[in-house]
Amino acid sequence: MSRVPGFRALCNGEAVEAASIPCVPAAEFRERVLRAAGAGRRLSALFARAAAGGQGLCAIMADDARGFLHVLFSEGTGDFRSLTPELPEAHLFEREIAESSRISIEGHPWLKPVRRSLPDSAGFFRENGAEVHEVAVGPVHAGIIEPGHFRFQCHGETVHHLEIQLGYQHRGVEALLAGGPDRRAIFVAESISGDTAVGHALAYCSNLEALAGVCPAPRGEALRAAALELERLSNHIGDLGAMAGDVGYLPAAAYFGRLRGEFLNMLMALSGNRYGRGLVRPGGAAFDLTESMAKDFSARLAAARADMSAVGELLFESASVLGRFEETGTVSRQSAEDLGLVGPPARASGLDRDVRRDHPLGHYRVQRITATNETAGDVLARASLRRTEANRSLDFLRELLAGLPRGAARETCPAPRAGLFAVVLVEGWRGEICHAAETDRGGKFRDYRIVDPSFHNWPAVAAAMRGGEISDFPLCNKSFNLSYAGHDL
């Protein structure tokens, strides 16, 4: 029996009748989620939704081994006891539920608001002691980065605890999308996190297609996958350059920076925007790739691969760089599993999770991609994982461009049907993007929920800093390069 009893199982990108999803009392809901977690399923999303009798919960659990997603609702009444003591990966989700709904969760260690209330009104964790000192950084930083507040409890140069306070970029994205779909929605989806425009737009469009019951044009699906991989390439390469810059290794920083531009330029040629905005649209892709452009892309990708291997050697064979990367900011496999990490940080710590392989959607059903792994969990592992993934993406793109499906790039996508629930997972460059939508009787979104990979992964940054040097924080943070906007929504 591959399906966990008590859940509604569905595939990635499948819409089911909302009424077919079991809705159980709160205590039973907790039992079932814990049982499923014990059976190896991980929590992809947990949020509050309107239910009979008030507000209840919805859990989406991913079974990576079998490729199913399991959904469960709870009724709106009863005791909501916290999952966190048994299931630490629920920690941030429950804090978010506590601040955004009327549900009161019992037994959670600290229901500090994550994004909606005034960021520092809730106080901070503080360590006491004669020689302990506190260093507070942000939300305004010296570089051009997003706002976030970091508070270190240090003993000399050693970090005992790091608390990360975000929420400065809360724009109410989910509220903007609820009640849709409307003409504005796709632009909202593209700006959930500016550097993941393709990833989030793809998740949003796949959701609309599932709810409308249409299959997007195969050529459009291929073009979307190409854009997603180009987005991954530009960001992974950019991150490698930024990590080199953080340790003061200039040549690699400069060359990787130049190389990142190549991929952004290809996205520009494909969509008219360096970040791929405007390409992914419901029903397929808004723009097509001509024969000559595809040839040109192949040539540019081949050149980029040669450059990448040369610069990669420069970075990864420099002893002084390895000395900085190795054994810095280590996240153990156990911590990664407990915190429910996704994407490159999870794979760098030895977890084998990749939505493109485990829950393939769109073009990834036709053309498989090999997942990559590292085991050490340190900055070096996260860096070399990015390098390997970038190479795999290049392989994937070469194959894709050679066998681009024929036909139109876009089909028409009608309005969503009524009373459905759909979940889409997309492996963005940061990891698993989860969009869950539920339509009401009029076919409008009753609820639209988004989980950016950063929401899963921010606690890992704090975990990686424990016992480390405070001077390693910028490098460590860069090796994760999480989104503030994606977390804050």
Binding site: D246, P251, A254, R324
Partner: protein, 299 residues
């Protein structure tokens, strides 16, 4: 007359040349990165810009905060008087080497106290790092000075760095040069010890101490840092290159200093910064090199 000309030349080189070294380092780094980089004279423009600005002082600071940059620059400039550039130093007497070491110490003390005065956690962190690494760089300097005074039989800087290449103690010279070069990188907060180009407060050493200074104060600090770079470069050049009288001596010296700036730029472009706990290990290497230099030179 020639004495006066020498003095004037010394003063002019000491006061006007230093920012150019920063420009050379910047250009070298840009060349390694495949960029054009800012013009050689950019540091002068930066200093002028800063001098034309006003300064903002936090209410938590006291007179120490304002004194810091002035005292630091003054101490470095006085130290510049006893350092031989080409020909000799402006001021030379027995034991001026000790004055040199202590003036640099005074300059550092002024910067550190001013940083602590601001009361920010960043600056406290920077101050503790600077003090820790400086206390390890100092023994290396003292050992090099001891070796040189032992071999030259002179206790003045001009005598020790007389420029007469003592090739009979070549091994000692090489060791002394290695020690001095590592101390130069540390004292001037260059890679691999510190990264002067970073904007990341948590990783900085020297830069984080001066975050709260602005305008003319910052200009004093940056100018002082460049003068310090010139002084250390000059010591190294005088140690390795032969001296010549008059203009030829100045040409050799200027060439040496410029080449050294390019070497510093090349080091910065080809290696990453060390992990902070590794920096003391580098300084132990400097101390060992200096100790061997002393043993080879003082027989």
């Amino acid at each position: 007359m020639t004495a006066l000309a020498g003095l004037l030349a010394h003063g002019a080189a000491l006061l006007l040349l230093p920012p150019l070294l920063l420009g050379i380092i910047g250009k070298t780094k840009a060349a390694f990165g495949g960029r054009t980089g800012p013009p050689f004279l950019q540091p002068y423009h930066d200093l002028l810009k800063l001098l034309g600005k006003g300064a903002v002082y936090s209410r938590t600071t006291t007179w120490m905060f304002r004194l810091g940059p002035v005292l630091s620059l003054a101490a470095i400039l006085v130290a510049g008087c006893v350092v031989p550039l080409a020909g000799g130093s402006a001021l030379s007497f027995t034991g001026d080497a000790i004055l040199f070491a202590y003036l640099l110490g005074l300059s550092r003390f002024a910067t550190i106290t001013a940083a602590l005065d601001a009361g920010s956690s960043f600056e406290g962190m920077g101050a503790s790092r600077e003090a820790a690494f400086a206390s390890l760089a100092e023994p290396a300097l003292i050992l090099v000075l001891a070796g040189l005074s032992g071999s030259s039989g002179d206790l003045s800087m001009t005598g020790m760095f007389g420029g007469a290449a003592r090739w009979e103690t070549a091994s000692g010279l090489v060791m002394a040069a290695v020690g001095l070069f590592l101390v130069l990188l540390t004292e001037n907060s260059r890679i691999p010890v510190d990264d002067p180009a970073t904007h990341l407060e948590l990783t900085m050493i020297h830069e984080v101490m001066v975050l709260d200074h602005g305008g003319p104060d910052l200009a004093f600090i940056q100018y002082g840092a460049s003068v310090k770079l010139l002084l250390w470069s000059s010591l190294l050049v005088r140690l390795l290159l032969p001296d010549a009288p008059g203009a030829a001596g100045w040409a050799v010296w200027a060439l040496g200093v410029v080449a050294l700036a390019a070497v510093v730029g090349a080091v910065e472009s080809t290696m990453a910064r060390l992990k902070m706990p590794r920096v003391p290990q580098l300084l132990f290497v400097a101390i060992c090199a200096a100790a061997f230099a002393m043993m080879f030179m003082v027989k």
